[in-house]
Symmetry: C2
Subunit: 217 residues, 2 copies
């Protein structure tokens, strides 16, 4: 019975995700679902990405946390359209929550929707939100073994970020092991090093811009 | 129907947790459930704690991860009794998994059982495993807002650790805000700063030793 219930929940989620995707594509919006552990730097990445691109792109953000509106308040400083979703005890965003967020945004004229998921390397992985790309984020401060220990994120992510590369000298982090573990799980994985806090984001911004441009064609 | 199923799962878990607790107490064992995000330093804390205490205490470890036996392999270097539980897609340990782990340990003569939960600040919080104390772990590298954003862990934890205090100079971390947020949620919270990697663990070891001694009385 439990499996049946879970299957129904996932099917309902996927149905809503399909509606989200259709609405977002109809509006010409490219959407990413940003997934990473607590404190890997997701919100800083969102802030700096918007600051870098806002002169050329219209961007909105839906951000999920169990509690507080702190991320939305931070992002609002650089982005006029932000919706905070509080999940209570929920460990990930679901498609219907994104749908509610979309209802509160002016989609017309948007180029990019960033969904910042709840800080968690497990639960957000299996839920389609209607995104075009899942972005998996790790950080040097977490140690090099996270891809091997959270392989499902590596599996579903369209691109993997290794953030806080600027702290490499201060933390124990075996960079070759990090790359080898990912390549073992997914030989064709795309991995981008970055440092959101210190604005080392050029390859990430290039990836994102290329995907947005390709989606508009 | 879904709520009913979840209630049944939680009730079954709590029943098994009670059996675990009874068996552990009968054997004179003090048990902690260590909960923290991915890469906050749980395994390093376990390694260093055992290295510091193994001359005076008999210690065993049950460690949960979605995949790999890496944590168990690391801990085995300092601890003869380690069981790795692989949860697959499971985002936390459950009491029956701890029970299976206990079946593979020689409980007789043990003083301390450390259960290192899956790296996650949400899902492990609501599950009783049969522990005597839940230890909530944060790290300076995660930023200061994690207690406010994961309030349920603060609520249930018997003690909160702030790890990687040695990296304070290298990361943006507002220490007064971290303390204020916790005190706002839980005025009597006990908070211990530590740095597992550089062996700055004295107050943590004192807390643990005091709890083990009190439990034996």
């Amino acid at each position: 019975m439990q499996v049946q219930v879970i299957e129904n929940v996932l099917k309902l989620n996927d149905d809503v995700a399909r509606l989200n995707r259709a609405a977002l594509h109809a509006a010409g919006i490219f959407t990413i679902d940003l997934i990473g552990g607590p404190g890997c730097g997701k919100t800083t990445l969102v802030e700096k990405t918007i600051a870098a691109l806002r002169d050329t792109l219209n961007i909105a953000v839906i951000v999920g946390d169990l509690a507080t509106a702190r991320d939305a308040e931070r992002i609002a400083a650089v982005c006029p359209q932000v919706v905070q979703i509080n999940t209570g005890r929920g460990c990930h965003l679901e498609a219907h929550q994104v749908r509610q967020g979309m209802d509160r945004l002016k989609l017309d004229g948007l180029d990019l929707l960033i969904i910042e998921n709840v800080g968690n390397l497990v639960c957000p992985v299996g839920f389609d939100l209607g995104q075009d790309a899942k972005v998996g984020m790790f950080a040097t401060t977490e140690g090099p073994d996270k891809p091997a220990k959270y392989p499902h994120l590596v599996d579903v992510a369209d691109v993997l970020l290794l953030n806080k590369i600027d702290l490499l000298a201060h933390v124990p982090f075996d960079l070759p092991q990090f790359y080898a573990d990912i390549k073992h799980l997914k030989p064709n994985a795309q991995i981008i090093e970055c440092a959101a806090y210190t604005n080392n984001l050029t390859p990430w911004l290039a990836w994102l811009q290329a995907r947005i441009t390709a989606a508009k064609k």
